[in-house]
């Protein structure tokens, strides 16, 4: 049975949701029906969802198979602060006692609503990611079957990263997930998000939809690090948004390795004076993978600063589209915005398109962008080979070197290492497989 508004109602019922949450789902479901695949006329031509029907995937099955909440927190064997979600089901959940005592919340949405309704309800009502942002946001908010909250109280600096891991299994299921992060003023945290596929037996496609909201209070800092490494039958749809208050900072790192078709959007809203965002994006596409990546930075307040560094390597017939939009509003004097999108093609059939755009409504700002698409250079390969390095290794070193301007900026050392590892493994195997335990981020 294809998904419909009845599906949204049923998920809500099974999750025992209050009526205001159900209302949101219904509204989102309605928008999902109405919205076109691509809202922006800038990109209409580039968006290509042929052959993918979101209605074919079932977001309901995994809800009815289980209770929404973690089975039992005592089943956890994990160390560190982590939540593992296997086929939509929380299988591991751990938060150190010290952080619990410090008032940190890291768990599912319904527990959060029960424990601290005054905190999380306004966030949900506020809708930083609005259901009419695009069709995929609407889908996510109508049919989510998993939702997590991370809340770090005022002034608390958490050095150990919080980890969320998703393992998809390959059926016609839809894992539809939402993550809400609330960083109170002056707090600091690192969130590592990883997505993998559990099984590698060929089967039908699955869908992974996620939305991430970062609410960054005054002077707070969030390092959001994501490695997307699902298999090549997974449709990946993600919307992420940060709202940065005065003097806060968000650092996004996203490694795109997996997925059949990835549609990803990042919005950085710099609302408070002096707030900053940076985004390091690394793509390695092989075979028939497609990546449709959209980054928007909106400078609302004065003296805000942003940087986007995107590097993509495409092999075989893989394709990527980078859509970067820098908006500097009328009050954002002294804003400083930079966008660089560079791609390297390893095959004549691979393709990369770059569509950078600027909208500037005030003077006295700095804004620049650069974009390029290049082939791997024959002279570089010959140079490395002349030193005894076999051709395949030489190419690998050259693509890693090409990715380096983004990789070296990754602020978390283990993410940097894990990402390079994933690229190297994928280079050799040409496919995304479930990594052995030791190659995942620890």
């Amino acid at each position: 049975m294809p998904v419909s508004i009845a599906t949204a109602r049923e998920i809500s019922r099974l999750c025992d949701e209050p009526s205001w949450l159900l209302e949101s789902r219904v509204q989102a479901s309605d928008l999902f029906d109405k919205l076109p695949i691509e809202k922006s006329s800038l990109y209409t031509r580039q968006t290509d969802l042929r052959g993918i029907n979101l209605l074919d995937f079932d977001p309901l099955g995994i809800v009815s198979e289980r209770s929404f909440k973690a089975e039992s927190e005592s089943t956890t064997t994990a160390s560190g602060n982590c939540i593992t979600i296997l086929a939509g089901k929380v299988t591991e959940q751990h938060l150190s006692q010290q952080l619990v005592n410090n008032g940190v919340f890291f768990g599912d949405l319904y527990s959060s609503l029960a424990q601290q309704p005054n905190l999380i309800k306004p966030v949900l009502v506020d809708k930083a990611i609005a259901p009419d942002d695009d069709k995929f946001a609407a889908y996510n908010q109508a049919f989510y079957n998993s939702a997590l909250v991370l809340h770090v109280p005022k002034g608390l600096v958490v050095n150990d990263p919080f980890r969320i891991r998703y393992f998809m299994d390959d059926s016609e299921k839809a894992v539809v997930s939402r993550i809400f992060v609330v960083a109170e003023p002056e707090s600091q945290m690192t969130l590592l998000l990883e997505e993998y596929s559990k099984s590698s037996t060929p089967a039908s496609n699955s869908l992974y939809s996620n939305s991430v909201e970062l609410h960054v209070g005054e002077g707070a800092r969030i390092w959001f690090q994501e490695l997307q490494n699902t298999d090549e039958r997974t449709i990946v749809l993600t919307n992420r948004k940060c709202r940065c208050r005065r003097d806060s900072h968000v650092s996004w790192t996203i490694g795109y390795m997996g997925g059949a078709y990835t549609k990803s959007r990042i919005d950085s809203d710099l609302l408070g004076e002096g707030s900053t965002s940076e985004e390091m994006e690394v793509v390695f596409g092989t075979r028939e993978q497609k990546f449709d990546l959209n980054s928007n930075v909106t400078h609302v307040a004065p003296h805000t600063k942003s940087e986007i560094i995107s590097r993509g390597v495409l092999r075989d017939t893989a394709r990527t589209i980078f859509k970067g939009m820098l908006r500097i509003g009328k009050d954002a004097r002294g804003a400083d915005s930079f966008l660089a999108e560079h791609a390297m093609l390893l095959n004549p059939q691979a393709r990369a398109d770059s569509i950078p755009a600027l909208e500037i409504a005030t003077n006295e700002v700095k804004a620049s962008h650069s974009a390029s698409v290049a082939q791997i250079e024959e002279e570089q390969i010959f140079y490395l080979m002349s030193r005894g390095i076999p051709e395949n290794e030489a190419e690998k070193l050259i693509i890693l070197a090409f990715l380096e301007p983004a990789v070296r900026r990754i602020p978390v050392e283990e993410v940097k290492t894990a990402l390079v590892d994933l690229v190297e493994k994928k280079w050799t195997s040409n496919t995304n497989s479930l990594p052995e335990e030791n190659t995942r981020m620890k």
Partner: protein, 254 residues
């Protein structure tokens, strides 16, 4: 066994244009040869062809290392058999550090292609050798953290080539204009480096347009190349004659 490189009646074309027109040359481990010739005579074409650059087409002739033809071998295999080329124009690879590049090359040449896979030397072992060579060539340790040839001065690029030569320990090295674009101090340092590496273990062909470097390095044999052929060979006195009389003299007396 002494390694030797034989170049026999070599004819090479690039993009349909005939550049080398029947070139013969033998280089043995332990010998220093100077290969001189005016611009455009085909010196770099010879160097690139020896190393196996895919753009250079061999129309006729052969290249043998220790009696075995190299023609069917890719550049990496030639390198692993002990051939080295110091590039006239070393290639920049932004994002690849000198140390990571050297480590990969160092490990690769130790896989000599004879079938059995040798265990790569440990990082510490590699670092030890690298530091020793840096010292030998009077190079700063921080040099290896830079990206390969990116933003290098002319002198740094050529020194980096000699550093690679020192690390990879080939039996035959072709140095293509390792002296050009250097000021006199840089030239002295590079020449010192080459002298330190020369010896029984290494056969060298110094390709040069000028005579300058031969004041620092004494070649056993000098060859003059004009229009894709070696037109005259002799001892080091030939270099002196050239210096006095110029290439015109050779062309007139061919």
């Amino acid at each position: 066994m002494t390694s030797y490189l034989q170049i026999q009646d070599l004819h090479v074309s690039v993009e349909g244009k005939q550049i080398l027109k029947g070139l013969d040359l033998n280089i043995q481990q332990g010998e220093i040869h100077a290969l001189m010739g005016p611009n455009g005579s085909g010196k770099s074409t010879l160097a690139n062809t020896l190393m196996g650059h895919p753009r250079y087409m061999i129309e006729k002739g052969n290249i043998l290392l220790n009696g075995e033809s190299l023609l069917d071998l890719s550049a990496d295999k030639r390198a692993r058999k002990g051939l080295f080329l110091a590039f006239q124009y070393p290639v920049t690879v932004s994002g690849l550090s000198v140390s990571s590049f050297l480590r990969n090359a160092y490990n690769a040449v130790r896989q000599n292609g004879q079938g059995e896979k040798k265990k790569p030397p440990s990082y510490l072992e590699f670092k030890r050798v690298l530091n020793e060579k840096l010292k030998l060539l009077e190079m700063d340790e921080t040099f290896i953290n830079r990206y390969l040839n990116e933003g290098f001065s002319g002198g740094e690029k050529k020194r980096a080539e000699i550093l690679q030569l020192a690390m990879l320990k080939p039996s035959i090295a072709i140095l293509d204009e390792t002296d050009s674009g250097l000021d006199i101090d840089a030239l002295r340092v590079v020449a010192d480096g080459i002298n330190k590496l020369a010896g029984k273990e290494l056969g060298i062909a110094i390709i040069t347009h000028y005579q300058r470097i031969l004041r620092y390095i004494q070649p056993h044999h000098v060859h003059v190349m004009v229009d894709g052929r070696i037109v005259r060979s002799g001892g080091s006195e030939l270099a002196r004659d050239l210096e006095e009389k110029g290439y015109g003299w050779i062309k007139e007396n061919k």
